[in-house]
Amino acid sequence: MYNREQLRERASSAIDKKGAIGPDINLDEFDDAPVPHSYMADEELCAIPEQDQKQLIMAGLDVTKKERGGTYFQKDTEVIHCHTQQDGIEVIPIKKALEHYDWIKDYYWKLASVDADKYTAAVELNLHDGYVIRALPGSKSVYPVQACLYLEKDGLQQNVHNIIIAEEDSELHIITGCATAPHMKRGAHVGISEFFVKKNAKLTFTMIHNWAEDMIVRPRSVAQVEEGGLFLNNYICMKPVRSLQMYPTTHLIGKDAVARFYSIIVGTPGSEYDLGGRIFLKHPGNRAEIVARTISNGGNIIARGHLIGEVPEIKAHLECRGLLLNGGLIHAIPELEGRVDGVEMSHEAAVGKIAQEEIAYLMSRGLSEDEATATIVRGFLSVDIPGLPPQLQAEIDRAIEESDKDVM
């Protein structure tokens, strides 16, 4: 039962509770007071300075909205643009949804726990906003919906709560980015996301993070996938960040439900990443896959993955490959947990440096050592993601191309 008072009480009790993993953050160092920004019409959106537009594009937000099914754009604490241009796809700011729609109460804090830690608590106690994106039953999104959470005010703590619902037989593609304004240095982003993939629905969620060097990032996400549903989750972070920790959980709660997680991380010096995913396979025919590609240029990366097979006739695979380019640390922690006979679970993990033999091979074709290295790195990062619409694959490819220069 939805009871906001009760949620707040539980949140209050967890206000000092440390996260289960990852370095503890003192949130008092950040300011979470609202930052007013006025709503922007289409023309204004297109008139954003070019330098900022570039930041946005890197995070998947195209201000022209061409080939986009809808847009949600939040700057600091305010929604500055929210629009849908496709029947059957709804995009609503969560505060508005909580005010006007009863149905949201069946989803709000239904998967994530409000008292999980100080971050979940902070979001409930001072919710800035967030998006609700819903595909109505049977609707198929032609173009992806784009959502962007932008930070401009230095020292801000942004608290958001997102809910994504793919109703029965629907198909929904979302590209979401978080980015910081070029001048911004320090801040915190705390985001709750709850994903509901209903019977035979397909949801692809591609998240591109583009942070400032001194950012603290604590996403908290939980998903559930019903019978025959597919949840495809891609995460790309190739820019520096002070500390990023997340461990999204997915529950496959109907037979033949499938979840696939792909992540591509580049860790720069001074950055600390602790990420991974956990998937519970609870019904026969469930499939899960976690694929991570990490590169360290001197940053510290912990790449986790945890697959839990609770019933027979499930299949799960975990793949974690790390490349040490320039010092740093990559710590792969793959976990497989088969709880009954008849599960089929596997993992492969490899951490190393670029093979000299591969560099030499490309050099023999006329590439310089640097070009050869860049080519191999690009190849390493290019994962084929089955079922991903071509536009989204293109976004990922672009992110990789763009960051290429930084990687070297």
Binding site: E357, S364, R365
Partner: protein, 254 residues
């Protein structure tokens, strides 16, 4: 011209090439024979510039330039290219992209690939899961795109099936400007003058000789090029009496 003088090479602690003298003039293709482990691949890798093959003495000159200590890519830029016996897999790099990287200019990789029956592999990662024969065709395709002046082929026909072998053989011949002469070739002299490409081909079977008009055969034995002769002669001699006998007999005759 490629000129190798008194070359000595070490791999780790092991002396693998003791004394190599070799000269390949523009327009010439040589065939390199030798038992397993005799150092044939090592010689090619040394010419290509693989740093683990440490040149302890001697000199390699190409187009008048001393390349003994040049890095691999600079040799490639000068026009040295190699088709490898066991190339590494490069995950995430499509064969199509690789072929484009090899070419200095725009190329049509589909058309090139068709020539060696390889269109179906362009969208696979370079060498990932390629069979033995497929690797050879992939390497050959890269040579076609790169079109270097000196081509080092390490067993280009090993493992290639009967249907593809003539394709591979003819393609190598045309890359090296060494197609077998047609009966009615009028201006053989002219053709010879126009030839600029140089080739060094390692073979065990000699099948390649059915397609490529090679100029010389060389036998690498005991770290040395122990004989220079007509490649067909070497092949039949080795076939009849083995490398040891063959090397002795020919050395004595010289």
């Amino acid at each position: 011209m490629l000129q190798i003088e008194d070359l000595q090479v070490k791999l780790g602690e092991k002396e693998i090439l003791k004394h190599i003298d070799l000269e390949i003039r523009p327009g010439e293709t040589h065939i390199l024979f030798g038992p397993n482990g005799s150092g044939k691949t090592s010689l090619l890798m040394t010419i290509m510039g693989y740093p683990q093959y440490e040149v302890v003495a001697g000199k390699i000159t190409f187009k008048g330039e001393d390349i003994t200590h040049l890095p691999i890519d600079e040799r490639a830029k000068l026009g040295v290219g190699m088709s490898f016996q066991r190339p590494p897999t490069i995950n995430g790099l499509k064969t199509r992209q690789m072929v484009r990287l090899c070419a200095k200019d725009e190329i049509d990789e589909e058309t090139l690939a068709k020539q060696v029956n390889f269109e179906g592999f362009l969208d696979r990662d370079v060498n990932a899961g390629f069979s033995g024969g497929e690797i050879k065709r992939s390497e050959l395709l890269q040579m076609m795109a790169q079109a270097p002046d000196l081509m080092l082929f390490d067993e280009p026909e090993s493992g290639v099936d009967m249907e593809n072998i003539s394709l591979v053989g003819k393609t190598i011949a045309s890359l090296l400007q060494k197609d077998l002469p047609d009966v009615e070739t009028k201006s053989k002299m002219q053709a010879r003058l126009n030839r600029t490409k140089m080739g060094l081909i390692i073979t065990h079977t000699g099948y390649i000789l059915d397609y490529v008009a090679a100029d010389k055969g060389q036998v690498l034995y005991d770290g040395m090029l122990s004989c220079v002769s007509n490649p067909h002669e070497i092949l039949s001699c080795v076939g009849e009496s083995g490398y040891k006998e063959c090397v002795r007999c020919i050395t004595e005759n010289n």
